[in-house]
Symmetry: D3
Subunit: 236 residues, 6 copies
């Protein structure tokens, strides 16, 4: 996990916007979970490994309050969540039922989970906001999950917001939403991310000085040379 | 109406999340109006009887400014609204035209209406926010209702957010949205609601102490016994 | 442009709700851009001439980072934007890719552009919020435009939120969204708008005094007479 | 009804395409019911007065098999249908439940109804096809209406495919779908329709001879003169 | 399997419309797969046990032609299909990529599979039509599955057309679409289905004789007595 | 054009399914126009260069019958269509208005156009079917284009069914829909297509003999060797 903690540390200063740009250069266009937004504005960026949960549609013979105490229940899934993970819940985009309310969110936070990411809705908005769990979701709905969904398990590949998520994929979530970084591409992201962030910050500064875009963004060879010189001089 | 005022009083402390759970146990899964959200965060919970209005699509020969002074107009409907009701407007989910603006919302508030609930949009957002009428809606749109809708009457069964609403059905709206309680089920809701809220609050407390979910939520017989004991001791 | 600046000045006190009502009376029902909302609450109303940009779907052989430095690029378009315009971007309603981030928004603001209006999404939300450019959009997305879109040019007719926008059409945007006023109809809007706003403000006042709607709104001949008398007496 | 039968006779040779063109010239753009298609290809054109039915969403306490024998039932509505009418059913666009199956369609045909038009689905496709009732609908679904819908009445204004339909509005349905002609506009349609059909047939003939479109369609004054001459010579 | 073959035999004469009516009386409203239609009109009804396959969205690092020969491939799934089953494929409703073409459909037919049911699309329409495999699907699309989907496994719970399907659930598909019968409810369906079909056929006959619906459908006690008498007399 | 005619000849025996597979191997996933289906079953495959047309939404001041004789009209566009092209019309996916009826389709056919491809609808279905123009579209609608659309020009980049189409791109349409082949990739497609079709036909034959998929499809080295031997022996 020591590797991971360094990776996490490095990625905490990299925006999801920058990550999607780097992954696109590697040929990955489908890594951002559609419609999955921070529940509260200004939540700090979260970085962690995915722990997945999966729902399918409700069938009245299966999705009953009794299901809550079955061995394949969301309650059992919660107790299986490892500390430091980001929980990713495939609710099939259903925003007519809340997958979790205040009690489960509070317990998930207690287990040391960093964040909840879902393409469904949460319920008990006031209670969830009172818990310390940062949530990225598609909405808020009063009905319980069993009004529209049946829980079928955890730790399997899932779809979330139109993106494939596998257990242990790396997840980053901030104010622009939530993205996945496949394991094999983490080194690429790390290698380019900090440079990209530094360069873009410098470009913003140039724009603020009134420099026009052509040649500046994307940077020409001359601009890059100027950037490197500035960077070196500031590093002194 | 004395019955009602006690019912209203009791329900004002019951969340729509709890109400949907109780109704689902009675076999009702379709009571929460989809996409109908509070216009302002933190509006207090509202409880009242439904007064219904109904729109159908605009037809250019019917949906004209002249329609505003016809006897079957939204203006006439407003003057028919009884004090203490919750107005439920079937706009067929149309979010491209605002059903009411500042003038009508202000007048609706003056008539003693508790809240406006619609699966359409409102317009004149600044003016509506300045009025004292709490609104649950699907959005905000500049165009007048006649740009997309024709008003056809009030006090009839309607659809709102995919839910059937009959005149005088009981409506509860809070930060999780708006739900209907059919008359025949009000006693069931009242009987279980307060207990459920108390139990859930106690469970949240247990979770905050670090208790795991299995056996706690949903509560085992042992947990329920512990809850009752706690409740009694606190009641002393 | 002197004409324009007077028009702009006059329209800055007219709401988009009022404008859509006036245009509907002239037979125009489709002037409000669907789903295009202010990025931040409370942005002041903006009035300006449309400068249009147009995207089509991404094709992997065209939508690449290399495209950013092609002569038909968003960068070139930015440098062609005249000061005082409102930029209207046809993103085909795609909310899965951000058309612009912090760097471009900052540069657009520097060029003296009044506002950005799009039926797509923006990215780098924190950075865009830090820029001084007011934005009306459909959402926020981390991926770059090329993840879903190909830029094809500027200063041509476009669709935005289901509305036809031609270069130099007049755009007004406020908390109810963004509308277009075709050139030929500007005199009609100007002639009626201020009167309409004054009348509605007076009607709100009457409603606040407890006057019922029939005869008041829409105003009967008698009400109009009363309004005119009040207006004159106040003008003294 | 003698007026009507002449109107019907005249309209049976006028396509819905021609009718929508004429109504658009009168300012009506929203008269064609979206997504409402002939169930079988090649059904002959039908012309009749609308008899409306209306559904709202299902609520489990109301939409039960018991509802089928309530006084406000689809069965009672069927027995109220006048011969020669076209039944227009507002199913709110729901294609997940079949509003009628073979038994009701057979009975509706027996009552002398000309056609069934709905923005919902029918069920028992084989049986409905075996009945003699021509159907325009959005689809086919196995579940009964009560799986998704509650019947609330007949002979009231309804929405069908996004179009407002009032009882006794004139309906025309053919292979391009179903349209409404408001009463007040029937004379306009009759006056222009036959001429338009004749002119368009003549233009098709010209196109088949290889004549180019400019000046031909829409016809210039010269083309119209040529058409009139041809028409007169053929009338000899 | 002897039980099953009798069940299958009995259900082959029961329509999906009748099955959904019976299941609704038992409280199950969500058993019909939305939008899943026969690829060819007039395909005979199919009855069999579900063998499930599951896709999630494509990720460019996973959904590649190389995936076709991975051990978790659709090819391996095909070879695991037992004869006599109905294959149910969860394509998440994606109609932009064809899950199977002519080669796989031909092989699936060769393995003795009765039918393919999916909420996605098939490709190579001409080739699939040339195979002997009856297909129920949402559409036809040229691109291969990997253009939009990643295959993740078989024989697990899936969603298909908004309905929960578990391995070995009983599936019935006909011209009204495809439905699931949960195992525990098979006896109920069998007990009522034939009676219901007989009664409805008799009612259709009565309607054809001109009998009105009230009392006939749903049948009154008197009607039921008349039906029984008719049935007995014909049985002689 | 001699190159083209050979290319066209070669591609006429290659299915759109095969083309999408080859393009996907080159990294292009978005080349199939969503929802664009043959109007009549069994239309022969068409291959040609794209001639593009573009609509934006209707605005009542612009989309009028008068527009039909403006210089930027669909009529003028028709007369500019070169023989042998395939017309691709960007109707923004609008299926509520028919872009062309019988007269225009007949004239388009007369001009030697091979096919019409659109993500919109056509009108006058009977007349269009009577013309000799093969059509790929999203549907059929009675209203004229101006009921929902404004024509803005031809021979520019367009979106059709979510795919970017540039003038002169190569288009292939068959029973699986319509695809684009970017110019630069035509040699790749030609090089692989015939081989792929031959191989797949041979594989179908093997499957018909009862060969299982593993090793057969995708073919192992051994299978490929066997295929080549068969091919050579048959070529004798």
């Amino acid at each position: 996990m020591s590797d991971d903690s360094e990776v996490f540390q490095a990625l905490r200063s990299v925006s999801t916007a920058t990550i999607t740009t780097i992954l696109l250069k590697k040929g990955l266009r489908n890594v951002w979970m559609r419609g999955v937004a921070p529940l509260k504005p200004g939540q700090p960026r979260q970085v962690g490994r995915a722990f997945t949960l999966r729902f399918i549609p409700a069938r009245e013979d299966l999705a009953t309050p009794a299901a809550w105490s079955s061995p394949v229940s969301t309650r059992a899934a919660v107790e299986a969540m490892p500390p430091g993970c980001i929980v990713v819940v495939d609710a099939m985009g259903n925003t007519d039922a809340g997958i979790f309310g205040d009690i489960l969110c509070e317990r998930i936070a207690r287990r040391g989970v960093l964040a909840l990411v879902t393409d469904g809705a949460i319920r008990d908005l006031d209670g969830v906001n009172a818990s310390s769990l940062p949530v990225w979701a598609r909405g808020v709905a009063a009905p319980p999950s069993i009004a529209g969904l049946t829980f079928v398990g955890w730790d399997t590949p899932v779809a979330c917001g139109g993106v494939a998520i596998f257990p242990n994929d790396l997840i980053v979530a901030d104010n622009d939403g939530a993205v996945v970084i496949p394991d094999a591409l983490i080194p690429d992201v790390l290698a380019e991310a900090q440079d990209q962030e530094d360069l873009e910050a410098w470009i913003v500064g140039e724009v603020e000085k009134g420099v026009a875009l052509p040649g500046l963004y994307p940077p020409s060879a001359e601009t890059l040379a100027r950037y490197k010189k500035d960077k070196e001089s500031r590093a002194l």
